[in-house]
Amino acid sequence: MTVTEETTTSGPGYKWVGTRPIRPDGLDKVTGKARFGADLALPGMLEGAVLRSPHAHARIVSIDTRAAAAMPGVKAIVTGADFPDPAELGGRPDEEMVAANIIARDKVLYEGHVVAAVAATSRKQAQRAAAAIEVEYQPLEHVLTVDEAMADDAPLLHPDLKTRGMDPAPEEPSNIASRISHERGDLDKGFAEADLVVERTFTTKPVHQGYIEPHAAVADAGENGRATIWCSSQGHFAMRTMTATVLGWEPSKLKVIPAEIGGGFGGKTVIYLEPLAVALSAKSGRPVRLVMDRDEVFRASGPTSGTKIRVKVGVTNDGQLTAAEAWMAYEAGAYPGSPVGAGGMTILAPYDIPNFSVEGFDVVVNKPKVAAYRAPGAPMAAFALESVLDELAAGIGMDPVELRLRNAAVEGTQASYGPKFPRIGFVETLEAIRDHDHYRAPLGPNQGRGVASGFWFNAGMNSSATVHVNEDGTMTVVVGTPDIGGSRASMGLMAAEEMGIDVAKIQSIVADTETVGFNDVTGGSRVTLATGAAVVEACRSIKADLRARAAKTWDCDIEEVEWVDGQAQHAGGGETPLSLQALARKSGRTGGPISATASLNARGVGAAFSTQVCDVEVDPETGEVTILRFTTAQDAGTAIHPSYVEGQMQGGVVQGIGWALNEEYIHDRDGRMENPGFLDYRIPVASDLPMIDTVVVEVPNPAHPYGVRGVGEVGIVPPLAAVANAIAAATGCRLVDLPMSPPRVLAAITGKADG
């Protein structure tokens, strides 16, 4: 097989950063050799199956496992009684919630909530035994939306849940877990100064991350009170911590080995199967594998919130935003923890608005507990705000990019959520779209163009990396953040740049929880920034070590040794340079193996902004929306590997288009999901989309050695509104409810004609 390397010129002053080598994990993935979560098989391994609640809300009266346990091949069955009572774990309330979500005890809170798990000698036997477990339920009234859950007489999911963030604190329990708020200035004065005020209420449905690989875990519990877990996740250290909490174990008793991961988008930062697999393994004495079916992924793993958001914004005739008010309610699923906090912090973040008030509510409903999904909480918020901005721009006759430019946050702006922005690239993304030929391209009949922008914080958090110099002069970079988006390639490029050696001489690997220092999850668009900084720091230690060894060899001062182009050079030029390979070969005589570790808590996270333009054509007789053209401009700080930056930008846009047009959880009256498969949960297919054009804007993050900003998430923030604004331009109809599926679009068009 011939592999052609893509090569392009590198970034300013860089030799490797900014080039596009093929990703080191690519070949194994396209040939099927890579091992994902479900691919591991161990000698004697049992297969598991999970029994899930058919009810959206019910009391568990009794569970009888006797008949199931007597079936052939059945080796272990666990129920909630086999786990520590979450309330007695002594942990934080959110840990109790994680534990309660893993397996129900007295109540099931959503269709798909785990009631029991079985391990047997085949998957079929395990499934049959699970079906033979007799559970008596007492069904309870359920709530599916924030409106139902917030109603005065709503049935309660958690009898002790009292709203946090209220002053005074409520005495009665409710389904509202918490209230958040941000305020600045004088709202009444701000609206009084406006020449035009638009107020709208928007709704969005829960949508799933839609990763192609279902959750899977293999566990092998030993006699020594320890266990090993192989699983596909966005962070095996987090899996270890959470699994240990649910089991009531010390984290160090668990070793978690990361499998390759087939997509996560935030949804694999949490545990589902791991504690069940460990408990079944401990009980049976054999390794146990648990793999979800797709319908289990939909019914029981986290989608993101359905929301209801009311936004009111005022603008003067010359385009100054004077005031903004937002009321936001996010479904949390069965346990508190919706991303309404992030929604409230991001909704106004791109803009400098003097007077505002944001109020948000985290609301429990009888649906699966939500999990993180790419810029959690921000896309729905931006859908609402950016739709209203579009109407305001049209209302005052101003170009929508110009309106955003006039109000854009810049370096020094006090962000709506608190801190002052350091150097950011929002204006640059707006200018990139304004100046793009797409923005001026002609449109035909039934076609329309929409723009929207978005903000995401990005994260830093904890990373560790170890770098080894091998005896042949190559290097191994050991990280503990799973590679979802090409991070092994990016780590290699930054190490190559630091060391001045060919990127092909660097092997990046993702190591288990006992082989590398602690790492937080691959999430928050943080890995290239934080793990990258750790790799750079470790490489710098290695370089200092190499210079010291060269100085020792040459019997000179270390200050006389420079590291240039992958070799030690004597400043005076009096010595033959020593290559990395030469130094590696004689490391045994200069102080032993060459290796360095860096562990850090990354600071100076660079915020990300994206501006996007979308052209649609709407069939006025069927309501069908065709995406004709889509361009996204995003500030990447520095694009370490531009192909994967573009890939992240395109991926976010595509997921946002799916969210905008067709994706939604559909529930029947009993609270059961009606579309738990990819046939009726409509993620876009390739033929639904044009090539997503990318403009990589590079405003370097001054706090990172290579200027990196996270790029993984912000791309999904603007598309919902960009598509809605384009549909409004094409049809004259402002759609405020997602998804904008053909029946909804046609109803809007027909309604307008009738009106």
């Binding site: 069927t622 053909p742 109803a747």
Partner: protein, 295 residues
């Protein structure tokens, strides 16, 4: 669950008579997902793809014979079939993906008895007949008479479709199939519409129109056909087709679409399918025919 693989029609009918709780399959592109979704397992699955006659595709002077288990990719790749029945080929070309089309068949798409099956309206408007085998020999039945409701057919226990007969079209005839799906592919029709027209000097002499996904079975639209025969295909005739098609719907509200939406779009697609069929019948096709409802 046993897997049986007969090599002749007779062997298959014998197996089916010996195992009453057996289920035949061709491509298994519906059977396997249904079993995985928890549908009860039959005692045996009978694979019909080993029978040569069910895998044969042939033409004679007067007609085509299409084996019931012929993978539809062989239909979409047949230039002759596409030239004579572009609408039928369009319909089968919309089923599933390339991978699915290398397995799925007209026999399976019909006998799975989904109201939304893409090939069925196209088979009906082209007057296709099914040759049905059982232990007592074969009988020939119009395709329109096979499906009786969602998941149910008029086939008796032990009967299966061997092949389809398709008469070659008269001169100046054209057919078309359009469907509405929210996605461009890998989707199930919310509405499907097939039309076949024969023209004589611009005047319609024969018309058949059938809709899918808007009633328990695919339905003919006699009022729309009557509105066309004896007339030129003008805006007034097309408006009458749309009205009659909307009226002929007996749809349900479900996760895929509402009653109101299906009624309205059935009229739109029937009108567009008739217009395209008329262009093809008159030899004026512009080559800009649209796949599905989208442009």
């Amino acid at each position: 669950m046993d897997y049986l693989s007969p090599v002749s029609v007779e062997e298959a009918t014998t197996m089916l008579s010996q195992t009453p709780d057996a289920r035949v399959f061709a491509g298994a592109t519906d059977v396997i997902p249904q079993l995985r979704a928890g549908r009860p397992e039959p005692q045996a699955l009978v694979d019909l793809k080993g029978i040569e006659r069910l895998m044969a595709l042939s033409q004679s002077d007067g007609s085509w014979t299409i084996g019931a288990a012929v993978p539809t990719v062989r239909l979409t790749e047949s230039a002759e079939l596409r030239a004579e029945f572009p609408g039928l080929v369009e319909a089968v070309g919309l089923i599933g993906s390339d991978q699915i089309q290398s397995r799925c068949s007209l026999g399976g798409n019909l006998c799975n008895a989904s109201p939304a099956a893409d090939s069925v309206p196209a088979m009906i408007v082209n007057g296709m007949r099914a040759v049905v085998a059982s232990g007592s020999g074969t009988r020939t039945v119009p395709v329109a008479d096979i499906v009786t409701g969602p998941g149910s057919t008029s086939l008796a226990q032990g009967e299966f479709v061997v092949e389809f007969e398709l008469d070659r079209p008269p001169a100046n005839t054209g057919d078309a199939y359009l469907r509405m799906t929210p996605r461009t592919e890998m989707d199930i029709a919310i509405v499907g519409a097939s039309a076949r027209l024969t023209l004589d000097d611009g005047v319609c002499t024969a018309a058949t129109i059938a809709l899918g996904a808007v009633a328990p079975t695919a339905v003919r639209v006699p009022d729309a056909e009557a509105a066309l025969v004896g007339r030129p295909i003008d805006d007034e005739a097309l408006a009458a087709v749309a009205a009659a098609a909307s009226e002929a719907c007996n749809p349900i509200d479900d996760k895929r679409g509402t009653i109101a939406y299906r009624r309205q779009v059935a009229g739109v697609l029937a009108r567009r399918a008739v217009a395209t069929a008329a262009e093809r019948a008159s030899g004026r096709e512009t080559g800009e025919h649209r796949d599905g409802a989208s442009q």
